[in-house]
């Protein structure tokens, strides 16, 4: 068992490393999450950063050593991740690999799978993307229509997937596709694949986002042929595997590689803006209505923070023990959206500006507000999250 002293020593080591190695401002605006990487220079910058962090041993610390991880206790990774947040260093761009595909492969993959994929995930050598959502079936993953038909020792894929972040840079995709239309329900015909993106017939097309920037793709499959060994889990088990993957994403189970997956923003940053931004000739922080809204957000942020702390104390579970763990994405994404929205309103008429050199903070707040929807919509919209919480945590009937 690790002692507090060892952890404290490691914390000093991590602090020193991040202080020393925090990259200089690249001179161009950086994305806030992996879903907003819109240019090659942004991508190269972030991938180099992840490689450097991995080589220094600060990501995947609790993953098995034999596959490229650090083989130490999770507590060390938590210390390192907190150090990254403290030093406000860039995030690690291989988010799908680190948080979805990696934990999944470690959880149910073969030794061969682990040897093949894990190290590349950690070093950002192999970027991963996800192919769950479809243009016509946003949050309703069970209704996926993208077809995979077995043909000899290959599967032939036809259809399309949307919101494939980093699709144009990815080497692999985790794909949910339909291998059968038979079966007792829509879920039974789904299968899960680890797809090599360089297979012929796969075409990721960048999508222009509401911000006017790029970051997502729609990935088209036109008679794309992938090796039959890409199937992960059995045919027809795709739904089960996808649900397991989402438990990693919702943070309910742990197992993620650690590290930051987005640029940190806290309500304190909004308060700091309120001191600089002006409404009617005075700092926004002096406007009584703004003050009340800021205080409300701060209370909400503290509540959000303390829920995480309380979740670690079993005796203090509420009557609905899964509520805190399963609502992390809903709470975090909605809080951030509202923080950004208020940040825009702090700026008087300048709230109506957008990304430009002479806008307040370069228009960063307006862009952040728009980008915040990626998290309230992606990975199951907030409304779907509320269905899930209502049904699984409160036991309410399905609609």
């Amino acid at each position: 068992m690790t002692t507090a002293q060892e952890l404290a020593e490691f914390e000093r080591e991590a602090d020193a490393w991040f202080a020393e190695n925090k990259p200089a401002d690249p001179g161009f605006i950086l994305p806030e999450t992996f879903m907003e990487v819109g240019t090659d220079r942004q991508f190269d910058f972030l991938r180099d950063w992840q490689r450097k962090v991995y080589e220094a041993g600060f990501v995947g610390m609790a993953w098995p050593k034999e596959y490229g991880g650090g083989g130490v206790e999770q507590a060390f990774q938590d210390v390192a991740t907190r150090a990254m947040a403290r030093h406000r260093v860039p995030f690690l761009p291989n988010t799908i690999g680190l948080n979805w595909a990696g934990p999944l492969i470690l959880n149910m993959g073969s030794d061969v799978d682990k040897a093949r994929y894990i190290k590349g995930i950690l070093s950002a050598e192999d970027i991963w993307c996800q192919g769950f959502s479809e243009p016509d079936h946003g949050s309703d993953l069970g209704n996926s229509q993208c077809r995979a038909v077995k043909d000899g020792d290959e599967y032939v894929i036809n259809g399309s997937k949307i919101w494939t972040s980093l699709g144009a840079y990815a080497r692999y995709m985790i794909l949910l596709a339909r291998t059968s239309t038979e079966g007792p329900n829509k879920y039974a015909g789904l299968s899960f694949f680890l797809v090599p993106m360089d297979a012929p017939g796969i075409d990721p097309q960048p999508i222009k986002k509401l911000t006017g920037e790029y970051g997502f793709c729609q990935t088209y499959f036109d008679d794309a042929r992938i090796p039959a060994t890409s199937l992960f889990g059995g045919e027809g088990e795709g739904w089960k595997v996808a649900m397991l993957t989402l438990t990693f994403e919702r943070g309910a189970t742990g197992g993620q590689a650690g590290g930051l997956s987005s640029m940190d923003m806290s309500v304190n940053d909004v308060v700091e803006l309120a001191r600089r931004a002006r409404r009617n000739g005075r700092p926004a922080v002096e406007d009584p209505l703004i003050r009340d809204e800021l205080v409300e957000l701060m209370i909400e942020a503290r509540g959000h923070q303390m829920m995480g702390v309380r979740a670690g104390i079993p005796a203090l579970q509420s009557d609905w023990p899964a509520a805190v763990a399963m609502s992390g994405k809903l709470r975090g994404s909605e809080l951030k959206r509202r923080m950004c929205k208020l940040a825009v309103s702090l700026q008087g008429a300048n709230g109506a500006r957008f990304v430009a050199a002479d806008a307040i903070d370069g228009g960063m707040w307006q862009r952040s507000y728009f980008n915040a929807f990626s998290a309230t919509i992606g990975g199951g919209t907030s409304q779907i999250q509320k269905n899930i919480l209502g049904e699984r945590v409160l036991g309410l009937p399905k609609d």
């Binding site: 304190n268 909400e300 509540g303 702390v309 409160l394």
Partner: protein, 374 residues
């Protein structure tokens, strides 16, 4: 920043209190007490005293357990969940007033009695409903060895059954606390008041002509300490109440059918119910955080944590009670429906010791000008 420290004592008290309140305060029992007009049950009160709950914050030298206010939180929370009405809040506040403002002699005289089941209360609020505890009209003036009192107090919990009341008055240009024995009030000195939460026994207290000994003044007047205790206990009760009302809502949504569907399947009801669930989780978290900070004894941080807990809980519980009535439809409009019990409790808690607006207003300078941050 201290996060949440959960003590072994808290854990044990939580187990006992949950069990106790579940067994002793089923909703039919709550309703029976309301119907009898006697929300306070002497047998139950003695059992609570025997469990040591009244002496939690009383030093061991005075017959108590010598723990902190943090250990009263699990009890208040459980009482809140089961709508148990008792003089626990009033007595704990009287104990806090004695501990933080009373003389050694006053503590010696009263703390052992309060710890073993005598009822105490605080009379701080007046008819204008001002939450600023220093603003009082009631007054006292010295006549020889006697203090002659005047004025009226309002919403004094459990005053009729109390052995002592700790009253705020103006005295020689300052707000002070004075200790009054129940017998020193006139025959018409205590009059029951109608309050929205029928599980409470609340009274108007007339001080006109009441004469007490000069040494019944407390040497200190630490109203902030009493306010802190009140905010912590009421916020704990509120967090428990949120869990209670949520169970009530969920049960109805899972049994009531309209248009051939269980109404819980409609997102218009399901989604706000999830909002209430998450507010309930936040309330519980903020309360136990506040308890830790209060126990650690840093007043400035404690004030922020307490006001946050009270502001969030007040708003959330009032919302949950309001939605509970609405979601019960026509039944919700009847006295028979339990939703009203929670709505009444919520509105009561919301308006005691400051609602959400009051506390947000007080939080603003600390959070925005002094840069406490979260």
């Amino acid at each position: 920043m201290a996060a949440i420290n959960f003590s072994e004592e808290q854990a044990m008290l939580l187990d006992t209190a949950r069990e106790f309140c579940r067994n002793k305060s089923a909703i039919p029992v709550v309703r029976e007490r309301i119907a009898e007009g006697a929300p306070y049950d002497a047998t139950l009160w003695q059992e609570m005293a025997d469990l040591g709950w009244l002496g939690i914050t009383v030093p061991e030298a005075h017959g108590g357990l010598g723990l902190t206010l943090a250990e009263t939180v699990p009890i208040a929370e459980s009482m809140g969940q089961h709508l148990l009405g008792s003089p626990f809040l009033a007595t704990t506040l009287a104990i806090q007033a004695l501990l933080t403002s009373g003389s050694a002699a006053q503590q010696e005289r009263w703390l052992p009695e309060l710890a073993s089941g005598a009822i105490g209360t605080v009379a701080l609020t007046e008819e204008d409903g001002n939450w600023q505890l220093g603003d009082v009209e009631a007054a006292g003036s010295l006549h020889g060895d006697e203090l002659v009192l005047s004025g009226r107090k309002s919403q004094v919990l459990d005053a009729d059954a109390a052995a002592l009341l700790i009253v705020s008055i103006q005295f020689e240009g300052a707000t002070r606390l004075a200790l009054i024995e129940r017998g020193q009030l006139g025959p018409d000195g205590v009059r029951r008041q109608v309050v929205i939460d029928e599980t409470r026994a609340s009274y108007a207290v007339s001080l006109d002509g009441v004469r007490i000994a000069a040494d019944q003044l407390l040497p200190e007047c630490n109203l902030a300490a009493v306010e802190r205790a009140a905010l912590l206990l009421i916020s704990a009760e509120t967090a428990g109440g949120l869990a209670g009302v949520l169970h009530t809502i969920v049960e109805y949504l899972n049994t009531r059918k309209q248009f051939d569907r269980l109404i819980g399947s409609y997102q218009a009801l399901k989604h706000p119910t999830v909002d209430i669930l998450l507010e309930q989780e936040a309330a519980k978290s903020l309360v136990y955080h506040a308890a830790s900070v209060v126990a650690a004894g840093d007043d400035a941080t404690a004030d922020v944590a307490l006001r946050m807990a009270k502001a969030q809980g007040s708003k959330a519980f009032a919302y949950a009670g309001d939605r509970a009535v609405q979601f019960h439809g026509g039944f919700g409009f009847t006295y028979e429906c339990d939703a009203q019990l929670f709505l009444r409790r919520a509105v009561w808690c919301q308006h005691q010791f400051g609602d959400e607006r009051h506390h947000r207003q007080l939080l603003a300078p600390a959070l925005l000008d002094e840069g406490v941050g979260v």
